[in-house]
Symmetry: C2
């Protein structure tokens, strides 16, 4: 018998996430963890057979559907994974007849495998192995294989599998079947339309295996059946390929591979495509298996969920692993994902920026609605870039609460600009900046210029929500104001730079956007006037009046599973100094110098860390990154480990709704930008490492201006032995 | 927020087992893990408030009850832990209002603590801390404390707690209340009788805390109530002491401590008593926290479940942590627990041997029933030593199966003799040997002498079950025959030794038991005639015909959660070479030299390890011990880690029924006798260490003839560096 655990951080290989027990109450969360994606399709790790409480879904980027009276959501497309079996008449499923169980995600190749021993009847044991993948080589292709071995007695198998349109998203199906057909004996084809009429979809599946294929013509779920005897000791294999082709795709639908193609062949091609991505994305951490597995998991999920050939789609707040937030795109992507992709797989970062550029008209419409100029990006966006944040929560119990973020969490506009500008700095992609980036940044600057309230004592931004969402309608949010100032100055720099470098482009843009020659200069003056509040000891005030709010001793509220917001209630939290997440600390991670000298940053850290609830999945990894940068090794590592646990141990209790994009991106950024200390100084990439004590070595690579740099760092222990003096900070610098 | 996990092997301190999430489907298993015991009382870690699926129980050693038509079982006594509360009218419990959760067992002091944050209503958060212990200083005393702190708003508390007789064991209560009384305003007293009339019990509880105490006079569950306001920020404490006094105790019932005594005071006394035990029982393992925590857990549970002042009771197969096996005593105690206690806390080993001596008459009755002489120990025994093994299984589904162990698993008689003889060798307790040990051993020898079937080709024992219970009614079980031979020779040695040393005692015993002067000599001749089957390469045949059974390739049956017995079914398993557990390997652990030279033992290991299902909780730790002894470091460690997981990760899926005594004892024995290599050579204790690679240092102590020896061992890595040559085995010896 194997050592078994419900914990996923076991096993020797850090390239695998292994589950060796089936715990019903954890199953829906595990479906999120075992999601596989290929940059186009993403499929949750639901079992082939149905189980109670499952949240079955395959998502295709960009196929947003708007059910009547609802906001758009990325619905589940018709399902390719469902497969039902009986052995000697006994339905196969994860119940009492389960004699063995192991599920393993191979992150190197993207193959999800499940092995089960099943006691079919009084005398027969069947070994069942499922393998599935969504091909990284052919993004519209999904492959499923089931291999059955009767270990003790011949067993009669009945198998059913097809295309299931009756998959709730998450409460009802958003695809209507239009036409079923059978292009060949072993092929089944569906044409479907989204319930809002916006999209068409063709799904074709091929099935090969023993037995004569019959067809069950359930209107919502056509499926093949096969009946066969499983001989003792000889594996019997069924292979199913499914191809999706939507009205967003060009060309004609391709047919799925036929019976001459094996799962292994498709897997090999997909594995080679994954290998190319891992060449850029692999981070090795010697001496800390949990961290190494954690960063592999983060990279696997971020890469799998990042649109690879589509600039009309972007990574949602739950990656593409659940129905949480309807797959809407938040600043999570711009700030927590894109900077990572920029230095690792810049093509994927570029796709996202293309999505934001396509969303610019929606952002202009939003600015106009508030009577302002330029572009005000949507807090949540779906396909068009228009604002799709709901106005009310829909709790299971109790009255709904008003959601203000779509109206006043304004820093999003600068977050988009930050992602674009940072991409340009690292890649030197001037074409992007000329064609798309500049326009986004300038339109955002024009928004801020029209938004600022100029008074005798400075320029204010009143009535916003900052990153700390426990406090709303605040004035002069430090993060928001700092970002707005940075945004205005950056836009000014870019325009002036363009006037010199490419005067023709500059002239055309200036006239199109209505920027006079004095524009840049006025933006700079405005930026200088923006109010940033602080007190005598150098601690920045998160927003006007924060220092006067009720202090709460968070240490009394332990052990804690819920956020302080949930515990205290909305009104009470809003009146107190409890903050949801990194806010001033968030500013430190993006613009450390602007927050101040290292001692000043440390004072701000000390003040805010003890008021921080870590009540958001966006918080811990950012704190880890900043702590590493401040040389707070132990704290940085503890926060990092806690961030690793958010999804893999489901410590927020909501993994069922999908993985946390900001957490997974944040983990990668804490590793590369925090522990390895990668940054640009001027135009030069530089490493200022602060590796955790337990890390003997960290190896990774990054891109800068089209070149890949491979780097190996030695653990801080060894480093400390070499340079024991406190003045040795300088020695830590390594030119990249 | 804390990093949270359903895994118990987290956290920094190896003196603690910490659970920081509540998972309903794991809860009943966790109740077993969080059992606290003091050598008299054992209480499962059920919550104070009732939850669905709980298995609530406090056990008192020796209080076996025989419900009508059933076998005796150690039933749950009336409960001291139940405590119900409402906050502003909302019932407290582990449901949606749970805002924080941590349960922590401090193994050093024996205190089980649970901290919960509870959202009492829209606006109020209450911190609830429970602490409980069963006093190691006063074994009949249990203490419970609950501390409530309103963190945000005043909250109205309603609290109920008393003595609950309606505790199923496990399907109905086995105690009838006879009389309730209220000796004082804050004391509640119950006199109860067991349903078979065999025992009486007095339970008295005292409650102190704020509010006026009222009484609810539920006939099965009298309880105090208190109503009070919890002020903000000021902790409010209720303290409850409960004293049990049964008809097996002498003297008058003591009253529980009054309101002048705090929980901390009782805890301090109990902690000092634990400290004395830990002085003898602490095993330190540097470099392997999971192992260090695992051996602490094993020692904590074994010591807590070992009767400390009662030779009429013994450790059951589930320690005293669940209803599994009705607390019946198996060879698990003699072979897996007592040798550990013998070298650590020999007084506890002695108590067990007293229990076996009291059971001798039952064993004589069993021998007589089969028409044999001497004593045939019960495979399962309860209070009297009579056989109490059920004859049929009682499965939830399907037909029952016949259980033969009570009739033919005969090696138990020699297992008892082994425990007694081993105790005597280590302690030099001649008085025990003279007064009790000799009689047990000799009566067992007389059993074997009458049992052996003497034929031309040797003496046989036919129709038995050996340790491998997948095969029953086998002839010439290697383990059984080897133990019988050892037993006969040992008895002969002891009798001859006694005739020389204490002729008067010898004469009295010989006449009482009817041993003629030729007896010892005839036992020795018989022993020499006992058949032990082997084949040319030196592999012993587990029993006659084993080599001809159907081979099964166990590697095909992976991943496996169930035993091969469950997977294949009884008949099929019986016809195959799949074995349940260490059998020939078990013999190697007790009598290595008798099995053969080290190369021969290695050949036997190789043959049997690949046929072993590890289908018993008795198996893996023994394998680990033997592998360590054979120098198979990696295998030994893997098996050891798997053994650690049996209860703490519930890999057999039955932790709900109680912890596995043989696993926990086996872990301790693998550590001390396997990895540290403690053994007697002649009369001298010797260490032949084989520490796992990851262990930097192991520190422990042992008793030999009344003296405590403290020893520190260095990890094998360091040792290997010192002595790289393969001939350095000798160097590893360390005189104790």
């Amino acid at each position: 018998m194997n050592t078994s655990s419900v914990d996923l951080n076991t096993g020797a290989s850090t390239w695998h996430v292994v589950e060796d027990r089936f715990v019903p109450s954890l199953a829906a969360g595990r479906e999120s963890i075992f999601t596989i994606g290929n940059g186009h399709l993403s499929t949750r790790g639901s079992f082939e057979e149905r189980i109670p409480g499952e949240v079955r879904a395959t998502f295709i980027h960009g196929l947003f559907v708007t059910p009547p009276g609802e906001l758009p959501l990325l619905g589940a497309v018709p399902d390719w994974t469902e497969l039902a079996m009986t052995f000697d008449g006994h339905p196969f499923g994860a119940d009492g007849a389960l004699g063995g169980y192991r599920r393993s995600l191979d992150m190197r190749t993207g193959i999800l495998e499940r092995e089960v021993l099943w006691r079919a009847s009084e005398s027969g044991v069947v070994k069942v192995r499922f393998r599935r993948l969504v091909s990284m080589a052919q993004p519209r292709l999904a492959a499923l294989e089931v291999t059955l071995t009767a270990l003790t007695n011949p067993v009669e198998l009945w198998l059913e599998t097809g295309i299931d349109t009756a998959v709730p998203s998450p409460s009802f199906s958003v695809w209507n079947p239009l036409r079923w057909s059978r292009p060949s004996k072993s092929n089944l084809r569906l044409e479907a339309a989204s319930i809002d009429g916006a999209h068409r979809l063709v799904v074709e599946t091929s099935l090969s295996g023993p037995g004569r294929l019959e067809m069950i013509r359930d209107p919502h779920h056509h499926r093949f059946t096969s009946q066969t005897m499983l001989p003792v000791g000889r594996p019997v294999t069924f292979t199913k390929f499914t191809v999706y082709h939507s009205s967003r795709d060009s060309g004609e639908p391709a047919a799925p591979p036929g019976p001459d193609v094996s799962f292994d062949k498709v897997a090999a091609a997909s594995g080679r495509a994954w290998a190319r991505r891992w060449q850029a994305a692999t981070i090795d951490i010697d001496g800390d298996k949990i961290a190494e597995r954690g960063v592999r998991f983060a990279a696997f999920q971020v890469i799998g969920a990042s649109p690879s050939d589509d600039t009309g789609a972007a990574v949602g707040a739950k990656l593409a692993s659940g129905f949480g937030y309807r797959h809407h795109v938040f600043w999570d992507t711009d700030i927590f994902i894109v900077p990572y992709l920029t230095v690792t797989l810049p093509g994927l970062a570029r796709n996202h920026l293309g999505y934001r550029y396509r969303g610019l008209d929606g952002a202009r419409r939003k600015a106009k609605r508030y009577g302002r100029e330029g572009a005000f990006y949507a807090w949540e966006s779906a396909d068009t870039g228009d604002e799709v944040t709901p106005e009310w929560t829909s709790p299971s119990f109790g009255p709904p609460s008003r959601i203000w973020t779509g109206e006043i969490e304004e820093h999003i506009t600068s977050d988009v600009a930050f992602a674009a500008h940072n991409y340009w700095r690292w890649t030197g992609d001037d074409k992007f900046m000329r064609d798309e980036g500049m326009e986004m940044i300038v339109e955002g600057a024009r928004y801020w210029a029209s938004r600022l309230q100029i008074e005798a004592n400075g320029a204010h931004i009143r009535g916003v929500i900052g990153p700390d969402e426990y406090h709303s309608h605040v004035d002069d949010s430090f993060f928001t104001n700092l970002m707005a100032g940075w945004h205005l100055r950056t836009a000014a720099d870019l325009v002036e730079h363009m006037v010199v470098d490419t005067p023709r482009v500059a002239a055309s843009m200036s006239s199109r956007l209505g920027i006079g020659p004095a524009g840049p200069e006025s933006w700079r003056r405005l930026a200088d006037d923006i109010v940033l509040l602080d007190r005598a000891d150098g601690v920045w005030e998160q927003h006007a009046g924060f220092f006067e709010l009720e202090p709460v001793d968070l240490s009394k509220f332990t052990p804690r599973l819920k956020s302080m917001y949930d515990l205290l209630g909305m009104e009470r939290a809003e009146r107190s100094q409890v903050i949801k997440q990194a806010d001033v600390v968030m500013a430190m991670s993006l613009h450390p110098e602007a927050v101040g000298s290292r001692p000043r940053r440390k004072r701000n850290w000390d003040y805010y860390i003890e008021r921080c609830d870590q009540g958001s999945s966006l918080s811990m990894a950012v704190h880890a990154r900043v702590a590493a940068d401040l040389g707070l090794g132990g704290e940085a590592y503890d926060l990092f480990r806690a961030a690793l646990a958010i999804d893999l141990e489901d410590i927020m209790g909501n993994a069922r709704d999908g993985l946390h994009a900001a957490t997974q991106g944040g983990i990668l950024q804490a590793t590369i930008f925090g522990f390895a200390g990668l940054r640009l100084e001027g135009d030069e990439p530089v490493l200022r490492p602060n590796l955790p004590d337990s890390w003997d070595r960290m190896g990774f690579s990054f891109f800068h201006r089209g070149k890949r740099f491979e780097r190996e760092l030695t653990g801080t222990k060894a480093r400390r032995r070499r340079a024991a003096s406190p003045k040795s900070t300088k020695d830590k610098e390594e030119r990249a």
